[in-house]
Symmetry: C2
C-alpha cells in the first residue's frame, strides 16, 4: 500500500460539520494515516476517536495550517496532489502518480487560495464537473492504491463486521 495523508484546505466549520466528518471517516476507511484540518473541533475529534476505539486502527485527526502541511509533506518526499475540478484529469496522470510511494492529497473547495494550485505538485480533476470532495478523494485513493485499500485490516477493534450477502453480522471481541 502507498502511504497517504490528507489535508483539507480552508475552513467553514459550522456549515460543514457532516462533510468534515465524512472526509475524516473516508480517509480512515480507505487506509490514510491522518487528515490535517485548519481547526479541529472537539466534537469531531471525539467522533473519530470513538470510531477508532470501536472499529480499530489509529487514524489521526491533526490540526495544521495547509501551507506548513504541504512543506512537511514535501520534506518527507510525498507527492502533493490537490484535487480540483479545474485540474488535469485523474485518468491522464494516474500512471505517473502510481510511480510515487507516498502522497499528501489536498481537498478544498471553490474558495481555495490560488497559492494552493502553485504549491501542489499536481492539480488533479476527478471529472471537470462540480460534485463532492468526498467522492473525489475516494476515487483518487482507490486508483492510487489500485483497490488494495479496500482489503485493509484494522487492528485492535472491539467490533468487526463479518461480510454477508444478507443482513448484518458483527463479531464482538470479548
Amino acid at each position: 500500500m502507498k502511504s497517504v495523508k490528507v489535508v483539507r484546505v480552508g475552513h467553514r466549520y459550522v456549515r460543514d460539520y457532516r462533510t468534515l466528518t465524512h472526509l475524516c471517516l473516508v480517509s480512515r476507511a480507505l487506509g490514510a494515516e491522518a487528515i490535517y484540518l485548519e481547526e479541529v473541533e472537539k466534537e469531531l475529534q471525539e467522533t473519530v476517536g470513538e470510531v477508532n476505539r470501536t472499529w480499530g486502527g489509529d487514524f489521526a485527526v491533526v490540526e495544521g495550517k495547509w501551507k506548513k502541511v504541504f512543506q512537511d509533506a514535501k520534506a518527507e518526499g510525498r507527492a502533493v496532489v490537490h484535487l480540483t475540478m479545474y485540474g488535469t484529469p485523474l485518468q491522464e496522470k494516474i500512471g505517473e502518480l502510481r510511480k510515487r510511494d507516498s502522497f499528501l492529497v489536498a481537498v478544498g473547495g471553490p474558495k481555495v487560495p490560488g497559492e494552493v494550485y502553485k504549491l501542489a505538485d499536481y492539480n488533479i480533476a476527478v471529472t471537470s464537473q462540480p460534485h463532492s470532495e468526498i467522492a473525489a478523494l475516494a476515487i483518487t485513493v482507490h486508483d492510487l492504491q489500485r483497490g488494495e485499500e479496500l482489503k485493509k485490516e484494522f487492528g485492535d477493534y472491539k467490533l468487526k463486521i463479518i461480510p454477508s450477502g444478507r443482513g448484518k453480522k458483527v463479531e464482538e471481541k470479548s
Copy 2:
C-alpha cells in the same frame, strides 16, 4: 457505459441537506441518469437544476418511495445494488456485477429497513468500515464503469472547464 440510477433510502432532510446535495452532484458527475429521493425539497431541486443549466446534461432528481423504485428498476432489468458496510466486499462481486448492463444503486444509512437487504439483488460493502455513502457510491460507480464515467461529456452547457495543470480555465459558451 452502463446505465446507472441511484436511490437514497430513508429521509433525514434537515440534518442531511449537504449530504443529499453531494449525493445528487456525485451521481450526476459520474454519469448516472437520475437519483430518487423519498422527498425532494425545492431548494435541492433548484441547486441541481442550476448545475444542469450551467454545466450541461439532464440529470434528474425524482421523488419516489424506495420500494416502488426497486420494483420499477427490477422490471427494467436493472441489478439492484444496495451499498452497506455489512455487505459482501465490492472487490469480490465486481466481476459478476460487470456482466450486467444496468443498475439501481441504493444508498442508505444505519437506519435502513431490513427489507432493503432482502429486496436488493446485492448487498455490497465498500470496506466494512463506517464512512460515507457518498464515497461508497463514487467507488462503486467508478468500478462498475471501469473509469469510463470520468470521460463523460455533458451536452448543452454554458460553462465548460478546460483541464489545466495550474489555475482555472473555463470556456464560456456565447
